[in-house]
Symmetry: C2
């Protein structure tokens, strides 16, 4: 097992080993029922004392990740230990592959994705927009006529940095967010996920310190952990990232990069205040670090003018801005963009080259007319009216059907509502019952890079049709109520 | 400056520092005219002695990468030192960005790409197929009608692993290369470059040993170096990789991964013999390592049956097979595939998730009918007749116009001819004169992971129209002749 240990932090070695193994188990990268290496062998591999490994294993056992069977070894917890050999390729001849170490400490988004596509039909968990609200018919008509006139784009590698016309159009579009850049400062990516990935891979290595909000976007955690980053979590309150706590961390640590979703934050839906935005830019300047501003939901806004982007307040190239066009235009095209300047930009273009030699020209040309500001304004206007109504519907239903001990956020934009259960109730304990009702939600614990809180749920009101949305919110409320009632009943039994 | 030093190899520290800085200069990641850190400061950053840095700088100076100006410092060599400030963003306010270390030791394909797109019009360097030979009209008609009937694919995220129908069709298609896999063992990627990248990023970390052919595909070197791999180069002769030398290396080093292009090798066009294929599989079994078989050109074959793929001879999941569909179908769609099994496969799917959440459904559906075996057979038959004629034409022209001291390969497949100049003549010295004639070729030195040979040129006969091809080969031959004649004339002057 490959674990990158960092001996220059305040985080103890047992804790680091614990985190790494816990992540791999949560991600499904270590399968349930697998045998872990012996204490002696792991201590040898990692060059740490046996006491360190024993401590890590005890913590894992305490948190029910693993269990030790006397005389047999230490196993990953599972309802049916050693009874999960249902994979096609689980042949003895492939066993040698386990000796090939990998560098994937965590891939929880992957696991979440698998569970989504196989087990449930009603995805309260999908933070995407229902197809009936997207301009798929317009886009398809455009593609259909465009490609007949321009078959030559099928035989071309476009520029690595992205199609010039699209970059021009995006530069224009970004002006509506007060971001004034030229097409030379824009890189086209395969969705915003690739953009995050390019940044992480170019600038982050083992032990580099990355600051993230807690909670934050699951797949961004996966990517920074993949690079071996030491992640510092800064809690979010109703005004966004707690900059006061960040500042205190900066006294001890020297962050290289701060990843933030300041506007309609994922998963909580909150907005970073203007004051904090200014302070964050100041911190980046003072500590010479990069800010990655991930801005997926600014377009889905229920207020007239969302607060300005960090990028628009950036004078010295500290902010790398990421915008995906999958969410509110076309997931099937996978187009995103990365905005940066100076040598940071140059190095990101080199990284894009190494990664895939550039995005598909077809998908870039497919979206081109729809990224234009005129179209987007019209499209977003009607989309936002619908989603605002959906949001209000969900908020009313929650008020009506949820027990009083359950709380939630009321987002002013974006598709996400963050539900907080009583602290004793783990969202994961609801998953099974929800699945029985064909409902999938996002368990909040996957949104933490360490020390997860287990009593949160993220639901998204944008990906379902109205009827399904209503039904599923009521059902989910009932499931939660029944769990809370059961506990109350138990507490009410007098001890005699 | 960030340099990963590996203290557990036979390669000396000065040599490692030399290689790392030389790569960054060749890649353009350190711009010409830049000032390098002082000996004292670099020795401090890297925690090595000052003598080590002095040795590295001397080697760099000897090879004309840098020059020292007394009292001023050490600068990257440039025709016009400090006179390259033509970038839009070269503002003083961005200077702080240079303090952000990156993890990109080398990105030579990027530089090559930039020079291609800006300076020359006739690309003997592009190993792609001219658009007139690709089925762009058929594909465009398919897309045009398909998208009108199926606009819904624009609003869907497809499965991360790839569209099920496309994976099914590819599984079928691969049977023609004797590769029998199910759709579950196939991942769709954004071209083969992403496939190489996913493998490198998942399994290779600092100090892991990767074996590559010398010469090999430039952008694959970039990717493995990016991961901090220690690359061992094994020379190629007319029967492909020298397995005898590889075996000798394996006695000392323990390779984790062997990257090979066994069929119509890039850049030399050679084919690995059957005997060596068997031996290579044996080595992977005996040393428990992975083979990455990159197979871009099998389809462009001038013989009836190319030798079997390594993947078809693989019984235990040692071979990861990579096939791109850009080259002979549609560069504009950027579709490639990665074939693997067991836990190696699972970890690659997790990596694909982290990287971009899956490829575009639009491009996958666009290519679907054209990956079918029936179509492909017909398409390749006529394509191969044309390319075979082009190849023969080029070989004849070379014979007629090149000086007798120049040699070249006669490929039985693929688009590449590897030209070897007299050992004293560096391909890079021809670049300027070639550019004056609007011709771009690939200088062979970028195809080596270390210790480049400078007297090779790769030309590709597939991307030009016949007339341009003829003209450019004759011009290139004349340029080379004139360089050789000049030298001969100098040698012929009697010393008096």
């Amino acid at each position: 097992m490959k674990i990158d240990l960092n001996r220059n932090t305040n985080i103890s070695l047992p804790k680091q080993i614990y985190q790494s193994i816990a992540d791999r188990i949560s991600s499904g990268l270590i399968e349930k029922g697998s045998k872990l290496p012996s204490v002696r062998s792991l201590s040898k591999t990692l060059k740490v004392s046996m006491v360190t490994v024993v401590k890590a294993y005890s913590m894992l056992e305490e948190d029910n990740f693993i269990s030790t069977i006397q005389g047999k070894g230490t196993f990953v917890q599972s309802e049916k230990i050693m009874n999960n050999k249902d994979h096609d390729n689980d042949l003895i001849s492939l066993d040698w592959q386990l000796s090939i170490a990998d560098h994937l400490p965590r891939a929880q988004f992957w696991r979440q994705n698998i569970s989504l596509t196989t087990k449930s039909q009603i995805w309260l968990s999908a933070a995407s927009v229902h197809s009936s609200l997207l301009p798929e018919h317009l886009i398809s008509r455009h593609i259909s006529s465009f490609i007949l006139k321009n078959p030559d784009i099928l035989s071309e590698y476009g520029p690595v940095q992205g199609d010039l016309d699209l970059r021009d159009t995006i530069a224009d579009y970004l002006k509506s967010s007060d971001i004034s850049v030229s097409k030379n400062e824009i890189i086209i990516t395969n969705g915003s996920q690739q953009a995050i990935n390019l940044v992480a891979r170019t600038f982050i290595g083992a032990g580099d310190i990355v600051v993230m909000e807690a909670p934050t976007y699951t797949a961004a955690i996966d990517v920074f952990r993949w690079q071996g980053a030491t992640i510092l979590s800064v809690p979010v309150d109703k005004d966004g990232m707690r900059i006061d706590l960040l500042l205190r961390l900066c006294d001890t640590y020297s962050p290289k990069l701060i990843y933030t979703i300041p506007t309609y934050h994922n998963p909580t839906g909150t907005v970073m205040s203007m004051q904090r935005r200014k302070e964050l830019i100041d911190i980046a300047k003072n500590f010479n670090c990069l800010i990655v501003e991930d801005d997926p939901w600014r377009e889905i806004s229920f207020e007239r003018n969302p607060l300005p982007t960090l990028k628009s307040m950036d004078t010295d190239g500290h902010v790398i801005y990421i915008k995906g066009f999958s969410k509110f235009l076309s997931p099937g095209c996978r187009i995103g963009t990365l905005v940066a300047s100076g040598s940071i930009l140059n190095r990101l273009i080199a990284a894009k080259t190494n990664s895939d030699l550039g995005s598909s020209l077809l998908t870039q040309k497919a979206l081109l007319p729809f990224v234009q500001l005129d179209f987007m304004k019209k499209h977003l206007k009607s989309l936002n009216i619908t989603l605002f109504n959906r949001r209000n519907l969900v908020l009313e239903l929650l008020k009506e059907h949820m027990p009083s001990t359950v709380k939630w956020t009321s987002p002013m934009g974006g598709p996400n509502i963050w539900i907080t259960l009583p602290s004793w109730l783990s969202a994961e304990s609801l998953v099974f019952e929800a699945q029985n009702n064909n409902i999938a939600f996002l368990a909040g614990s996957t949104c933490y890079s360490s020390e997860p809180e287990f009593n949160h749920i993220r639901i998204s009101f944008s990906s379902l049709e109205q009827e399904q949305l209503e039904k599923s919110i009521i059902t989910l409320s009932k499931i939660i109520s029944s769990f809370i009632n059961k506990k109350n009943n138990i507490e009410n039994i007098p001890i005699v």
